[in-house]
């Protein structure tokens, strides 16, 4: 009898420990400039002559997949709106797995774009939805760019569009051994420095330019 109950107890303990091990994985996105996490409306000196201010930085990441040796372990078909104005939105939680690679989308896939009205992070009320040309804005960056002794240039990059031939969604893969916390950096200094802000300060519609900038952006993620 005693043996039986101790068996049950040890079984429960194993169960408990087992559950204990599947702690959640935290992935934090860190949009950065000059190697620091961006503070909205702060003036950053990119070099001696250029000043940059970011007033809005908001984007969607979706469909996280976890891989081990190239094999898909799990996939989560959901979208998250990350907004620098709400720093907690930059922290995402997933059940932890024994993975060595993560893949996710920057933006919203086409089936979600044609799914009608949606809730939560995908609610059009979040200001990340074009109503007249239905579809999500995958990435929104607004601010000012000032070259010394020249006028301040306000910029607005609203990148989105899912229809062929201009789909803007990007798939991003990162290699990373399992850890409790993973930080994925988004180097916006690199992004801005690759754009001629003077001649291209506004992208507000789907099209070739939105695709070009989305591709550029996808290369700015790193661990």
């Amino acid at each position: 009898m005693i043996r039986k109950s101790s068996l049950i107890v040890s079984f429960l303990m194993v169960l408990f420990l087992g559950f204990g091990q599947t702690t959640s994985l935290k992935i934090t996105f860190q949009p950065r400039i000059s190697n620091e996490t961006i503070e909205l409306n702060k003036v950053y000196a990119l070099n001696d002559s250029v000043q940059l201010v970011i007033s809005t930085c908001r984007f969607y990441v979706s469909n996280f997949s976890f891989f081990s040796k190239g094999k898909l372990l799990s996939q989560q078909k959901s979208a998250f709106l990350l907004d620098l104005e709400h720093p907690t939105s930059l922290d995402l939680s997933f059940p932890s797995r024994d993975f060595d690679g993560i893949q996710f989308n920057l933006g919203i896939d086409s089936s979600t774009n044609v799914a009608g009205i949606l809730d939560g992070d995908l609610d059009p009320i979040n200001g990340m939805y074009w109503t007249w040309n239905s579809g999500y804005i995958n990435f929104k960056l607004e601010g000012t760019y000032t070259v010394k002794n020249a006028a301040k240039i306000p910029f607005e990059y609203h990148l989105g569009g899912y229809l062929s031939p201009y789909p803007t969604i990007q798939t991003i893969s990162v290699e990373k051994e399992q850890a409790e916390n993973i930080v994925i950096q988004l180097d916006l200094q690199h992004f801005i420095s690759e754009i001629d802000v003077n001649s291209c300060s506004n992208v507000m519609i789907p099209g070739a330019k939105a695709v070009e900038l989305s591709k550029l952006l996808s290369n700015c993620f790193k661990i």
């Binding site: 009608g116 059009p124 009320i125 109503t131 239905s134 099209g207 070739a208």
Partner: protein
């Protein structure tokens, strides 16, 4: 004994009343697809058609609370008696008399459409309603503010509770309610429909018969039966209005071959949906027929496919017109279910 019977009757009534009060499940109603019609595009999968949802959608449709200063409702530009369009206005006017750039489209048989607006920019019926609410020349209101007003109202939260099981009014259940009303606006009871269904005692006149023949030979490719639209896009060769400068579908796709293409409108109830064309430039149906007959300029450069004038003679024009009038569906235009809620 008598009192006892009375008492029991009272109890049963009271119970009935209580169960009615606590009835939480909305009443599912069927979406009737007319015989031989194609399968609707709208699936109701995430938004089942319910009586409560339909009624709520109708109330919202007729309520100016959706506009910034509570002056404009959906029905301001979509009147039932004229096929749910804005009769007599080439382009519609919204809040403070501000003018839009296009003729307000009819709301007829929307369930069979996969795109909305003259340029097809809207890809789902459920997201259509956000446009007029937020457009500065229409209701000029913010979604957040509409939700605030609705949530604070004394009537709406309980109606949403009855329709969607929650009294929290969100973008999603607001849009779903509006969809349940607009998707239900089905017109399929015109003389044309009755003749096609071979209903007793309904026949085309000789003139209407000839008109149908002319229609099928010339117009039906774009205005395909039974919806009287192929629901795709086409250019009808109209020259661009120099003030409105509307490039049509090109504004959405940026594909040069989509320049000046507009969504083909249904011709159902066309008798009452004047003025006509995307910019409402023709006041009379006669003018439209005359344009297609003699007014098309084949040299117009932005036609993706060459379009030739149809050259109808006077009899053909009259026949065609008399056929088009058989698309009038009074049962739809005067259906009390679609009218201002009592």
């Amino acid at each position: 004994m008598k009192y006892r019977i009375l008492f029991f009757t009272f109890c049963i009534c009271a119970l009935g009343l209580i169960s009615f009060q606590f009835k939480s499940e909305p009443t599912i109603i069927e979406f009737n697809v007319p015989k031989k019609w194609p399968k609707p595009i709208y699936s109701f999968q995430n938004n089942p058609l319910t009586e409560e949802g339909f009624q709520l959608g109708g109330k919202l449709f007729y309520d100016p609370i959706l506009s910034r200063d509570s002056t404009i409702s959906c029905a301001s530009c979509h009147l039932q008696y004229t096929g749910f369009t804005h009769v007599d206005h080439n382009v519609s006017h919204g809040i403070e008399g501000r003018k839009g750039t296009r003729n307000s489209p009819v709301l007829i048989n929307l369930a069979w459409n996969s795109t909305f607006h003259w340029d097809g920019g809207v890809n789902h019926l459920e997201v259509q309603g956000i446009n007029p609410i937020q457009h500065p020349a229409e209701m000029d209101e913010k979604l957040e503010h509409v939700l605030k007003k609705l949530n604070a109202s004394s009537t709406y939260p309980s109606l949403f509770k009855a329709a969607f099981g929650t009294d929290q009014i969100t973008t999603s259940n607001l849009m779903k309610a509006l969809t349940l009303f607009t998707v239900s606006l089905v017109s399929s009871d015109s003389k044309y429909d009755k003749v096609m269904r071979k209903e007793k005692g309904v026949q085309f006149s000789e003139q209407e018969k000839n008109g149908l023949k002319i229609f099928r030979n010339n117009c039906a490719v774009c205005h395909k039966e039974p919806l009287f639209t192929s629901t795709t896009f086409a250019s009808n060769g109209l020259k661009m209005d120099s003030l409105l400068k509307d490039v049509g579908r090109y504004a959405i796709t940026h594909n040069p071959t989509d320049s000046m293409l507009f969504k083909i409108p249904t011709l159902r109830n066309v008798e009452f949906t004047f003025p006509y064309m995307h910019d409402g430039r023709y006041k009379k149906l006669k003018d439209v027929i005359n344009y297609y007959s003699d007014g098309i300029d084949p040299s117009v450069s932005y036609l993706s496919k060459p379009l030739k004038p149809f050259h109808f003679n006077d009899t053909e024009k009259k026949d065609l017109l008399s056929f088009l009038l058989t698309l009038t569906d009074k049962a739809f235009l005067y259906n009390p279910r679609y009218s201002f809620p009592k």
